[in-house]
Subunit: 358 residues, 2 copies
DNA sequence: GGACGATAGTTAATCGCTTAACTATCGCCA
DNA sequence: TGGCGATAGTTAAGCGATTAACTATCGTCC
């Protein structure tokens, strides 16, 4: 591979001049540029990025960090769409994207990841961080590496972008309540697992209580994001509380599992049971029936995060961003039918569910 | 950030010795190692990867290349699972994964990608290459960069791994024929778009012809991998050829679209119409009804590719690999019912479809 | 005409690490 | 005892760029 020096010799100038021409630093003539460019072409010169990184202290590599927590990112359509959004911006700016999926333990991310962050190999970092414990950006913060977090685990001074989960929860509950449902079941995930989901729950709660509903006494079961767990939760909930006329699920996959399970138990959706999801994954619209859900605009959040990062790299100090969510009305919700409306007006007498089904 | 020199001073040895200890190159005492390691710990030293890359000529970065062709990879669950497989091996070996998605044009991949490949930033490359034109590995080949291709666009001497698409096609057709179907519709993609799919078609053809069926005269429509296009193709096919009792789709998403469309047209699946997919994406098993399909073991192919790459890096010359596929019998296929069996035994009189629906 | 600022290009130090070549020491054996 | 090979560690030369500091040239303005 030809080096800068080869080019400089061939063009009959110094390496400094070649470097200037290539990086468009002032003070060279058109004639010089021509000679240099021609030498570059003739030799097929391509700059050595490692050398450039060492000398200039810039690697043009942005790490995108998806911690390996509850499940592999590679099966979660949502994080993937975020990734797509990030990729589009990074590529467009001529940067490269290093995908890192550190394993998390209570003592923090794995050693290999920590070395990467501290190694000077990275110009910036974008991390998904919704998990309360074990922050993935501590080292980056300590090293002053430009970092944008997508999610909630931030502290003062951090740059972040997040989806308006609270509003998403509000919109769902408003819709369900507006339809006339009062016997509502919740399919959630264990507490302290994901802060985004907890904000959705807070949104649900706010609206429920504004309507005089005792949110904490609503039947509730915890899944683990998967379709299967959604089915299991639905089985549990519908068995113990046959009066339920609407099921609010905190993500689409659990909603889809719940619908299948409900059908197995003889409930038609939406006639006998309304179900809502969250995320609007690709499968949601082609599901039968198409799922009423919340569109988080995941690709957009990736793009916004990437743009914020480049702002920081250029010396600006971008504002943290909360992205609006969009309610997607499809066909899994309907007003409750009298058959499934029990005689008592609320479910105050019901016991509360906390544990997930086996 | 402390450097190697800082460590060497603190430990009271030369930088060469520190380097040796850290890379475990022979000839130092246990005592020396202790001193060095202690200095490393005290200073919080982390090697600078750019400097290491420049000096040693190894970056510990593997590029994973998913060309942007017919659609963004970020919505294709299949390539994503391959990515997951690759990631697991790369991470485990302590390498980093650079995700590159070059834009392809008839003149080749974009310039930024070419620079990356030639820049010396990469220790190896894994590429998905099923698109006939515009190879993504030409530069890598020219530069002698260790490369493994997942797919078909290879030439002699290349390392590759691919799924046994031909056998997959055979198994699908054998199953459908064994069920008794003879009025078979095909939902495919345009020719020269994806070589893997063409091999599946060859597998289908081989078995069909062995059974005396004129494969080329089977009704056929071309989609573009998407659910929507599957629905459109199904609408087209079932309208023109109502006698069709089985629909073979070359991927799951098109199959799912086809099933929804068939249902809209009053066909029950599988009673009135059998449908098969290909890929076994996550949604396939939770679809209603669960989809009969082919499992390609995508994560495995990613793992195999990554392992092959490390073999090459270690000086070995691994054998190209064809991975077996697995037929997944679920609930979208059944024997044809007499109602939908037309009087003529074959469809020799039918015209052939080539164009996709608008 | 001389001084000065802008322009064009060069020299050489530097980034932080690896490694070939070299020196020094030690044990062992003929 | 001398010599040799193995062991332990050092010196210093790169790797291939960037860039600060410097020199040289030229036009302009008083």
């Amino acid at each position: 591979m030809p080096t800068l020096q080869d080019v400089s010799r061939r063009a009959g100038v110094s390496t400094a001049t070649v470097s200037k021409v290539l990086s468009n630093t002032p003070y060279f003539t058109e004639e010089t540029r021509r000679k240099v460019m021609e030498a570059v072409r003739e030799l097929g010169y391509v700059p050595n990025l490692a050398a450039r990184a060492l000398a200039a202290g810039k690697t043009h590599i942005i790490a995108v960090v998806f911690p390996y927590v509850y499940e592999p990112i590679f099966s979660d359509p949502l994080t993937l769409r975020i990734l797509g959004g990030i990729e589009s911006v990074i590529t467009q700016r001529g940067y490269n994207m290093l995908l890192s999926t550190p394993r998390l333990s209570p003592s923090g991310p794995d050693e290999h990841y920590r070395q990467l962050v501290l190694s000077g190999y990275l110009d910036g970092l974008i991390a998904i961080d919704n998990v309360p414990e074990a922050s993935v950006i501590e080292d980056a913060r300590a090293k002053n590496l430009p970092t944008v977090v997508i999610g909630y685990d931030v502290r003062d001074g951090d740059y972040w972008v997040r989806s308006d989960d609270f509003s998403g929860g509000e919109q769902i509950m408003t819709h369900i309540l507006g339809l006339g449902h009062r016997q509502i079941g919740l399919i959630t995930v264990p507490e302290n697992m994901n802060m985004a989901l907890e904000h959705r729950i807070e949104g649900l709660r706010a609206v429920a209580q504004a309507h005089g509903l005792d949110f904490d006494s609503l039947p509730r079961a915890n899944g683990d994001f998967s379709t299967e767990s959604g089915a299991a939760c639905a089985a549990d909930l519908l068995t113990r509380h046959p009066e339920i006329s609407a099921l609010i699920c905190l993500n689409d996959r659990m909603a889809m599992g719940a619908i299948q399970q409900a059908r197995l138990m003889g409930r038609r959706v939406p006639q006998d049971l309304s179900v809502t999801g969250y995320d609007d994954i690709p499968a949601a619209s082609s599901f039968a029936p198409p799922l009423t859900t919340i569109d988080q605009r995941a690709p957009e959040s990736g793009q916004v995060a990437a743009r914020m990062l480049f702002d920081i790299l250029e010396g600006a100090t971008p504002e943290p961003t909360v992205l609006p969510v969009h309610f997607v009305l499809r066909e899994t919700t309907a007003p409750p039918t009298p058959d499934f409306r029990p005689s008592m007006p609320t479910n105050r007498s019901e016991s509360r569910e906390e544990e997930p089904p086996a």
